[in-house]
């Protein structure tokens, strides 16, 4: 029941009408598109999704299957494994070497990528992830002398600031892996390249050495090395000044913390020699490990992985299988909905409305 309140004229100037203006915007009459979920739109959409996803999935799966990958665990926990001695007796300070023999059944063509893999290593632990100082790693002089509080307890050592500070830097992976091809009894060392293993933006934007006079050891002279490192940061690669200090590529790769507890990080590249011979031939190989990194205390595992690459990266069957599955389910769902619509669907578009 509405009472129609009309203001009197003498008060009319103070009371405005509360009726909204008769514009398209305020009366909700704007031109519009009204999509409605009818059988004519939804069912073809499902079939199209199904028919598009299945070939994509097959393509991804085939591409992934054509990538060659080889993985070998060299932690040394089995009783007779070559690195068992190193695993059980090593500490942070001792150096132990071992050799693992393996065989490649297929030749690897094109550029081959050598990764090291760790398992049960939680680089995604929150306190660990925060334990770094990015302004120090960017070459800021004041952060070099006074690192961030986030780096505690890896911030100062014997009264001197640690460079690079933090738990991530402290746990740098320091095994050395060398690969030999056994060619009728003689060993041929495979050429490993360490340039180009880190992201270009990391190496050139995010990480910078502090500037100053003299060489790196002078610039870093008032700092201490991280507690678990055998050598200070300016000795990471003395032979190459573009790979020394904070811009050392192995260091940069390690500092990009992994998302999951089982991860692999790029260690070296094996560039292709020429288009006629495969980069890694079929045959016997030896991996020479300088076993420095102890993982048994947290039940971790270490692996070496050799892999070729395609336009979608390394071997990744999940994406292909997921696309095929989703495409099939979509198509099947489309068929089911078509049957349901045909048998039970409400065909009426005009309403029979009781009043």
């Amino acid at each position: 029941m509405a009472t129609n309140y009309s203001p009197k004229d003498d008060e009319g100037e103070q009371h405005k009408s509360r009726k909204p203006d008769n514009t398209a915007f305020k009366q909700q009459r704007l031109p519009a598109w009204q999509p409605i979920l009818t059988a004519g739109t939804v069912l073809p959409a499902f079939f199209i999704i199904g028919l598009v996803f299945i070939p994509i999935g097959i393509g991804l799966f085939v591409t992934s299957n054509n990538i060659k990958e080889f993985e070998i665990d060299y932690t040394g926990i089995e009783p007779n494994s070559p690195c068992g001695i190193c695993a059980n007796n090593g500490t942070w300070n001792t150096t132990c070497t071992c050799e693992v023999h393996f065989r490649l059944d297929q030749p690897f063509e094109g550029n081959v990528f050598m990764y090291y893999g760790l398992s049960n290593f939680y680089q995604n632990h929150r306190r660990y992830v925060k334990s770094r100082d990015d302004s120090q790693l960017n070459g800021d002089k004041s952060s070099l002398k006074d690192p961030s509080k986030e780096c505690e307890p890896y911030r100062m050592s014997n009264g001197r600031p640690i460079a690079p500070c933090g738990a991530i830097a402290n746990s740098l992976f320091n095994d050395t892996l060398v690969l030999y091809y056994m060619d009728n009894g003689t060993r041929k060392e495979i050429q490993l390249t360490s340039n180009g293993i880190a992201w270009w933006t990391d190496k050139n934007v995010k990480f910078r050495n502090p500037t100053g006079d003299g060489n790196l050891s002078t610039i870093f002279k008032d700092t201490a090395k991280p507690l678990n490192w055998p050598k200070p940061v300016y000795d990471l690669d003395p032979t190459d000044p573009h790979n020394n200090g904070f811009i050392n590529e192995d260091f940069i790769v390690w500092m990009r913390t992994a998302a999951l507890p089982t991860f692999r990080k790029l260690y070296r590249l094996i560039m292709k020699t020429d288009s006629l011979t495969p980069t890694l031939q079929q045959g016997n190989y030896t991996l020479h490990v300088t076993y420095n990194y102890p993982v048994l205390s947290f039940d971790g595992r270490k692996r070496m992985i050799l892999s070729t690459i395609s336009w979608m990266g390394g071997k990744n069957p999940f994406l292909g299988i997921a696309y095929i599955t989703v495409g099939s389910i979509c198509f099947f769902l489309g068929v089911v909905l078509l049957i349901i619509h045909h048998k039970y669907g409400n065909r009426n578009t005009s309403a029979d409305i009781p009043n």
Binding site: Q27, Q28, P31, A32, W33, Q34, P35, I36, L37, T38, A39, V42, F46, I56, F113, Q123, N124, V129, D134, N138, S148, E150, G196, A198, W199, T201, V205, K206, V253, R256, A258, A259, L260, R264, K265, L266, L269, S307, I309, M312, G313, G314, K315, N316, F318, L319, A322, V326, C330, L333, L337, H341, Y344, G345, N346, N348, T349, A351, I353, N355
Partner: protein, 195 residues
């Protein structure tokens, strides 16, 4: 992750009001007063609807985590370098989330005026603008410890694997919603849908 699911669940429930949201022209509202019945009987927002929203939020947040997890776990970029790091994972999941929510809102919007187009496409554009701005080298130079994700978007969002993952996640989240909604419309249409 659950927070993201809640956000997504809340966004597609029917109790938000956008400017210009309507499903029936006003002349028909006057002709068919029975259209007002669902509102009076609280049929559109009650405990059952709320729990359906929550269930959808949980499903979406599970998919938004596990599908990128499965894809990125052992992946590398097309030059062999790192892609399974936590920053790339975060950018992938965040981008998937924004796209899934935008598509969901798009499906929910039954009445596309110019304003709706502007806000929905605009929010996607703003997301990418802010993403690239926050991960730019310029901001990193000023505040290195706050803007650590420098150049991550540039490196991650050019990888085909990441975009395939985003499209897959969107499809898995949206297809069941559309299927349920179509079945509901087909078998038990509300009065408002047929007018």
């Amino acid at each position: 992750m659950v927070g993201a699911g809640w956000l997504q669940g809340a966004s597609q429930c029917e109790w938000w009001e956008l400017v210009g949201y309507r499903d029936v022209p006003e002349q028909r509202s006057l002709q068919y007063p029975k259209l007002y019945e669902p509102g009076q009987l609280n049929l559109l927002f009650n405990k059952r609807e709320f729990f359906i929203c929550i269930a959808q939020g949980i499903y979406t947040s599970t998919i938004l985590f596990f599908v990128p997890y499965g894809t990125l776990a052992d992946s590398t970029r097309d030059d062999g370098t790192h892609m399974a790091d936590y920053q790339s994972f975060a950018v992938t999941v965040a981008t998937s989330l924004v796209i899934v929510v935008s598509v969901q809102i798009g499906i929910d919007t039954g009445y596309w005026t110019a304003i709706n187009h502007f806000f929905i496409w605009g929010s996607l554009a703003i997301y990418f603008t802010i993403l690239f701005a926050m991960q730019s080298a310029g901001l990193f130079e000023i505040f290195p410890n706050q803007f650590r994700f420098v150049a991550n978007a540039n490196n991650t969002l050019v990888q085909p694997t990441v975009w395939f993952t985003i499209i897959l996640t969107t499809a898995i989240c949206i297809v069941p919603v559309v299927a349920f909604r179509f079945l509901k419309l087909d078998l038990k249409p509300r009065l408002a849908d047929t007018v």
